[in-house]
Structure formats: structure tokens, C-alpha cells
């Protein structure tokens, strides 16, 4: 079986643009006719219609082949995109035949969004016109890499080479300016069939390919195959409790059993357990295939999530700069919420700013407060939730969006994402997996563990209490862990042996660490007599998070105060292992803050710590 017979031909989707005056429909009609792909009855109908309503006298009016709607046939213009299908031995083609009039710009852009190549038509007797720039610009905007400038009606200019070369030269300049990477120009006469399918004897000076040869041979590279894997989840397949598969079409890369993947926007990581193609289990699938993935862990994934290669995930953001083509009958107004669709994701989006409008005829940047039908603007978009995306230049699937009016349900805009305005770093996979920085940012503070150490009765709790009141008044989010209080609950099971003291400190330090991770300023008021334990606590924290406050009150002062009567008990021998009396206290050697507590009152001492915290 030959490649053609088995359907193994590569496919080229291209659009044609130009207005009726340029002979666009005649060109496609001629292409189909000369390529021998028009059925006889279609030709019979065409002959009948040509005599009845045609514009070519007795000759066939190929335009009637393509303008399929009544309104188009009546007005003799193309309004909507028509799709045509034909194939040759080399390739299958899907032709999006697009209108060229400015009022149907949105229709042309629709055709361009489906295409890899554009055939842009100009009339040799007229040269480049405003509309040529418009057509080329829309193609460039929609990311078309290949443009074939087809200079038609060469018969009208006597098949003169100079005419063609002049048009070619100015078009190459234009395409360069608009950023179209691959450009070819060719001279044809659609009416007479010169260089459409058959070579022309009229233009011996032209040695390049005919239009059909060019379409058959231009190499189109599918960049999505080599890009990192992305699967926008379209549908969750869960027929019974033992199977959970995530269905969608791979928009880039390839995926195999055992691959490490990341799920966005949650940032959860896992591995691929099974890849199902359309015919069941397969080892590997590639871009363009409809697949179902089963993952190693049961994680919560739903439509709109993107499963991506763990080694190269796309970005997540909710603020973008983008190009918008407005298609609504009523104008785009900044601030109004629209429904956004991007891949399988939906969100509410509003345009926060129109940076400028692009004049599609001149390329000029103009100030604008709103966008009208068929106008293009560079805008800032703000979404009500983060979405997974890639710049449009990298991925049409994750960079192309539409906006839908929520009342009329009309599709009112097509957008091409350029970049995220807010760096994704602080949202990326920390969005659901919110981290300490996110929480701290939310609270507007640097999380800290302020560790008070000192003898019993030194004034730790009084100072900590005063400090917390002060910080609270300043709008900080705090918590006070007091030794006595914790021993009533969490550490109820612990005594005062050395082992229990270590465990006491370990538990408190761990709790403090969790609280710092939660974004809080934690005050720990514990005797914590051993240096080693305090060091252990310190090591649970990042460099500047742990602040050791030595409440340095001489033993005799503490013993004189004896607020809780403990020193008396200890001296009486009723209390074993009491620090300073019958157990050691190892004073800090280089605490961050050293308070001589007998010299000032707790609020004043607290204030010095506030100064220390706020100062940094």
C-alpha cells in the first residue's frame, strides 16, 4: 500500500487572502481545476451558474465555486471562511478561503488561526496596497511563519519581469518589518493558468516553482514535537473506582510510562503510570495525539489543569500583556469582565489597560480607550484566577485565548499572550502549595522566632507578654508559647529530668518552627537552660529568623522576687532539678539581644526588642 493509499500523507493547512478584485477565488478555482480535483457535476453546476450569475461572460467564473452562502453569491464577495479539501500525490491540503475586506478581518484571522501558511494575493497592475499590509500583518499576528506572495494578473502587465521584481522587493521589505520569517514571491495569471499548476511559456525569466509546486514542497516544521510535554486536561475518565484517567490532546512533546510530570497550577509532582492512546495501552505518545494518562498517585486533577513535563513546566500567572483582536459588535471596554478560554481552562478576565491600538493598515501605534470591531490592541489582562500558559510565539495551544461576552455568549475577542506581567515565581507552584513567603507577604511581616531564655522569675514571660501586646498593636500576627502553659497541654507527659527537658525544648522548637512557617512572629518563653538545646532550636530556622533574647537577671534578684514560690520550695528540698538551685543554667555566649532585666520594666524592655525587629 502506498503512503497515499494508507492516508500517510502529511497535511498542510493554508489560507488564501486577497479581495475579489485580486482574483483570489479565480486562483483557487484554477488551482482545483488544473490539479484535476473538481468532480464533473460540480463543473456542470459551475458552468450553469457562471452563465446565470457569473462575472466572466461565457467563461467559467471560478469564484462561484467557493462563495457558498446566498448572501455571498448575491453580493459577489466572500464574507465567511470556506474550507476546501484536496490532495495530490505529495500532500493533503485544507484551504481556508478567507475574505479580504477590512470589515471581515475577524473572519480572515479565524482562517489564519488554523493555518501554517498563507497565500497573499496582489494584483500585478496595482502592486502592494494597504490591504496587502493588512493581510500580511494579520498573518504575522496569528503566528504564520510562511507567506507566499502571489502576484496575480501578470497578463495585465505583459508578463514583465520588472513589474514582478519591484513588487517582490517591496514585499520582502514589508514582510521583514512585520516579522514574517519565510517569504516567497511568485508571478501567476489565475485567469490563464500561468504558473498555478502548469509552468508558463509567458514568463521564461521565472524559474521558481509554480504555486502548486510551492505548496507541495515547502517544508513545514512542527516545532511542538520537540517542545516539552504539555497535556491540557479535557475530561476526567472515571468509569469505576479502580480507574482514573486524564484525557486530552497532547499539545507538545511526548510522554511515556514512568515520566516525571508536574500538574499545574497546583504544582503537585508524580509519575505517569500508564499511557492510553486511542486504541489502548501504548508505551509513548506524542504531540497531536488524543491520550488518556493514568498517574501514580491519586491527586485531585480536573478539567483545566495542565499535566506537563516535570523538567520544563510552563508558567502560571493571572496578569498578562497580550494582543487582542476585537470581534464584538459593541466595543471592548476596559474593566468589564469577560469569560476567558485558554486551552481547556476558563477564568473571568478583564482588560485593565489598553496600552495602544495597532492600526492594521499602517502598523502605527495609536492611543485608545476602547477597541471597536476588527481593531487590534496591545492590552493588559487581569484574571480572577491563575492560569497555566505559554507565550503565543511558543505555543498556540497555551498562548491563544478567546473572550466570550457573558450575557450574549458571543465570542468577542481572540488574544495572543505575550508575557506574564507578574513574575510567576511567587505564584508558580506555590499557588496552592502556598509557602512561608506567600503567607508572610499576606501578613506583611517577616516571620520570626523570638526565643527568651533565662532563670525562672527572670521576667521572660512579662517581657514576652509586653512585646506581644506591642506587636499586636502594630498590626503584626503573633503567638506566645509560654513554658508553663505548654506543660499543661502538649508537654503534660514530661517531667524535669535532663531527657525530658531536652524533649520539652525539642517539641516547643518544632511547634515554633511550624508557626514561623505559617508566617507568624512567635515568642517562646522557656527557661531552656542548656546551650545544646537552644542551638538545636536555632538550627531549625533560617539564618535571621531565630532571635535569642537572654533575660539576664541575677539569681538573687529572681530568688528575692520568687513570684511562684518555687525557689523557696527548691531550697527546702521539695523541688528537684530546679534551675539555678539544684540544676545548672548555661548562659548564652552570644545572644542576639541581652537584656539586663533588673534595670527596667517589661514594657521598656519589650520596646528595645521591637526596635530590633522593626529596624531590620
Amino acid at each position: 500500500m502506498s503512503p497515499i493509499e494508507s492516508g500517510q500523507r502529511p497535511l498542510l493547512r493554508f489560507l488564501t487572502c486577497g479581495s475579489v478584485d485580486d482574483g483570489k477565488s479565480t486562483l483557487i478555482g484554477r488551482l482545483l481545476f488544473d490539479a484535476g480535483v473538481l468532480p464533473e457535476d460540480v463543473l456542470e453546476t459551475l458552468a450553469r451558474d457562471s452563465r446565470r450569475v457569473g462575472t466572466q461572460g461565457e467563461a467559467l467564473d471560478y469564484a462561484l465555486l467557493l462563495d457558498g452562502l446566498e448572501a455571498e453569491r448575491e453580493q459577489g464577495i466572500t464574507i465567511d471562511v470556506a474550507y476546501r479539501y484536496f490532495s495530490t500525490a505529495e500532500r493533503s491540503f485544507i484551504v481556508a478561503d478567507c475574505p479580504g475586506h477590512e470589515q471581515y478581518t475577524r473572519n480572515m484571522a479565524t482562517g489564519a488561526s488554523q493555518s501554517e501558511l498563507a497565500v497573499v494575493l496582489v494584483d500585478a497592475s496595482k502592486g502592494l496596497l494597504t490591504q496587502t499590509r493588512r493581510h500580511t500583518m494579520i498573518c504575522a499576528l496569528l503566528g504564520i511563519h510562511h507567506v507566499l506572495l502571489t502576484v496575480n494578473k501578470m497578463d495585465r502587465v505583459g508578463y514583465e519581469e520588472e513589474v514582478f521584481r519591484a513588487i517582490e522587493s517591496s514585499f520582502l521589505d514589508l514582510a521583514g518589518e512585520l516579522g514574517v520569517p519565510e517569504v516567497r514571491c511568485l508571478p501567476v495569471s489565475a485567469l490563464h493558468g500561468d504558473h498555478v499548476v502548469h509552468r508558463s511559456v509567458q514568463m521564461p525569466w521565472y524559474s521558481g516553482p509554480t504555486l502548486l509546486e510551492a505548496l507541495q514542497t515547502i517544508e513545514i516544521v512542527d516545532h511542538s514535537l520537540a517542545a516539552p510535554m504539555r497535556l491540557p486536561v479535557q475530561w476526567v475518565n472515571r468509569p469505576h473506582a479502580d480507574f482514573r484517567g486524564y484525557c486530552g490532546t497532547l499539545v507538545s512533546g511526548n510522554v511515556a510510562r514512568g515520566d516525571a510530570v508536574i500538574v499545574l497550577p497546583s504544582g503537585r509532582r508524580t509519575t505517569v503510570q500508564q499511557v492510553l492512546g486511542v486504541d489502548g495501552d501504548i508505551a509513548c505518545a506524542q504531540s497531536g495525539q488524543a491520550v488518556t494518562l493514568c498517574l501514580d498517585e491519586e491527586i485531585d486533577i480536573s478539567r483545566g489543569d495542565v499535566i506537563a513535563a516535570a523538567s520544563g513546566p510552563p508558567e502560571v500567572s493571572d496578569q498578562f500583556a497580550c494582543h487582542l483582536l476585537w470581534m464584538g459588535e459593541s466595543p471592548l471596554l476596559p474593566g468589564r469582565p469577560y469569560q476567558l478560554r485558554l486551552g481547556t481552562q476558563t477564568a473571568l478576565a478583564q482588560v485593565t489597560e489598553i496600552r495602544h491600538r495597532l492600526d492594521i493598515n499602517t502598523g502605527q501605534q495609536l492611543a485608545a480607550r476602547h477597541l471597536e470591531l476588527n481593531e487590534v490592541g496591545v492590552c493588559h489582562l487581569s484574571l480572577d484566577q491563575p492560569v497555566t500558559f505559554e507565550p503565543y510565539a511558543k505555543s498556540r495551544a497555551l498562548g491563544g485565548l478567546v473572550l466570550i461576552d457573558r450575557i450574549s455568549n458571543a465570542t468577542v475577542a481572540a488574544g495572543m499572550l505575550d508575557f506574564a506581567l507578574r513574575r510567576a515565581a511567587n505564584i508558580h507552584w506555590q499557588h496552592l502549595d502556598v509557602d512561608q513567603t506567600t503567607r508572610a507577604t499576606q501578613k506583611g511581616q517577616h516571620p520570626r522566632c523570638i526565643w527568651f531564655t533565662g532563670l525562672s522569675g527572670a521576667g521572660k514571660s512579662s517581657i514576652a507578654n509586653a512585646l506581644e501586646k506591642r506587636l499586636f498593636a502594630l498590626g503584626h500576627h503573633t503567638y506566645l508559647l509560654d513554658g508553663d502553659n505548654v506543660r499543661h497541654g502538649l508537654n503534660r507527659d514530661l517531667g524535669f529530668t535532663s531527657e525530658d527537658r531536652v524533649e520539652n525544648i525539642r517539641r516547643v522548637a518544632e511547634v515554633a518552627r511550624l508557626m514561623v512557617d505559617a508566617g507568624l512572629i512567635v515568642l517562646v518563653s522557656f527557661i531552656s537552660p542548656y546551650r545544646a538545646d537552644r542551638r538545636m532550636a536555632r538550627e531549625l530556622f533560617a539564618g535571621d529568623e531565630f532571635i535569642e533574647v537572654f533575660v539576664d537577671t541575677p539569681l538573687e534578684v529572681c530568688e528575692r522576687r520568687d513570684v511562684k514560690g518555687l525557689y523557696a520550695k527548691a531550697r527546702a528540698g521539695d523541688l528537684a532539678n530546679f534551675t539555678g538551685v539544684n540544676a545548672p543554667y548555661e548562659a548564652p555566649q552570644s545572644p542576639e539581644i541581652h537584656l539586663h532585666a533588673e534595670q527596667s520594666d517589661p514594657p521598656a524592655l519589650a520596646e528595645t526588642i521591637v526596635g530590633w525587629i522593626v529596624a531590620d
Partner: protein, 307 residues
Amino acid sequence: MDASSELLQPLSHLDHLEAESIGILREVAACFRHPVLMYSIGKDSSVLIHLLKKAFAPAPPPMPLLHVDTGWKFREMITFRDKRVAEEGLELIVHINQDGLREGVGPVSHGASVHVDVMKVTALKQALDKYGFDAAIGGARRDEEKSRAKERVFSFRSAQHRWDPRNQRPEFWNLYNTRIAPGESVRVFPLSNWTELDVWRYIRREHIPVVALYFAAERPVVDRDGVLLMVDDERFPLHEGERPLLRKVRFRSLGCYPLTIAEPSEADTLDKIIEETRLNRRSERSGRLLDNTAGTSMEQKKREGHF
């Protein structure tokens, strides 16, 4: 690039079409509350059912099939329908316009136009309203007919089931606008980008069962002004002196039997059908009598709610 990716072949044209169609079917299931797949028993419907099963495996398809029966389908079609549905374990709803049936509306007594209007278009609207379907999937292809070449993949219908070709939603990339208000619906065409030849090649590749009427065989036909019509049952009105003759014929497109033209053919295998289709110089729907009555007949019918 890793070793596994080097082994991958570029997707074939049929693989592309298959993946695109499956993506569309999944989109319907994900975005609509009460979708249905229109089953007309023809080759395109057979492909659709095949794709439907693939799209949702290992789960069963999350939508029923709907056949709008006109009462004038070839008998073989109905037998095939019931057999296929049973084999596949699919849920099938059959709807017939009971008013039309009571009044005896048919292509012979009332003419093709009235028959199609009452038994197909009106019947379809009745069924969609009765079951409250918000998305109806059909097997129409853009290469079949000029107004279809302009139709969207997700084609919006008003609450009155009307199509407004001048006011279609732009379809960018493969982003489909699936939002509708209560009572409104969409018609969805997963095979939009397939050609007749693609359909036959896919049927061969995937071994999809199709009605035997597509294959050339000796069948009783009458020749009316060069048009061959099959005499499928006694309701077929024979003209004076007309006698059915056995001719080797096949059908390219299947509808109501008195309105469907048989074509002389020797193509009795898939390979021969594909070769015949490849070389055929006549478009597919030239075998449907109603389509040729006026230049824009299909657009008109579609505006009124026809598929």
C-alpha cells in the same frame, strides 16, 4: 531528545483527523449537560460511533444515540441499526414524527420536499425538544456541500433550532465557544475536516462495519430518465410498464430509499470502493435527489433546522 521520541513517526493524515474528532467529542461531553449523537446509520455515523467508543474508553460513551426515522429508510438500514446497537451495547432513542405518520406523509404521496420537512426536519426538532438535548452531534462534513463548507464545528442554534449563517461565532484555533442560554443548542460536527475518501480509508483501516448497501450487488432497480432507483418494498410506485430489473449497483450516500440514487458499480470490496471514490468524477451528494432542486437548497434547509 530521549531515545523513545526518536522512535515516534509523524502522525498520518488519518491519525490527525481521528485525534481532532476525539478531541471534539470529549469537548462536547465536558461542556454540555445533555448531549446526543445523531445516528443516521450511514458510513459517517458508523465512523462517529467508532470514535465515540474510543474517546471515552474504558468508560461507556456518556451520551445516547438518536435516530430520526422517517419510515422510509432501506429495510437493510434498520436491521443493521438494531444489530449494531445491540453489539455495542449502546443506548438508542428512535423518534418518528407521529403526526406525520398518522397523516401518512411520505416521499411518494407528498413529494420529497414535504416529506423531508415533516419527517426529517420537524421530527428532529420534536426529538431535540422532547429530550431537552443541548448538543447534537452529526456526521456532516465540509466537503459535502457549499454551505456546509462555511459551517462551524460547534454551530449555534437558536431556541427555534434556526441557523444564522451570517452570524456565526468565530472559531479560533481549536477553542470552541460552548456557552448557550437555556433552550438554545449547538450542532457539533466532529468530521468537519474529513473527506469522503478519508472516511472510506478510515473504515478500511479500523474494520468498521457499514451497511451492505454501500457495496455493489445485484439489486432490483428501475431506470427513470437515467436515474436508478431501488425498489426496496411494495410502497415504491411503479410507473406504467415499469418493471424492476436486477442491476449491479451501490449507494454512495444513504437516505430515504425513494430519494436515493443507486449507481452502477462493480465496487464490492472496500479496496474497490476506495479506488472508485478516488477516481470518481461526481460529488457525493449528487446521489440525493432533494439536494439538487435549487442552488441553495441545503443552506435553506439548514437555516430551518436540518442537519
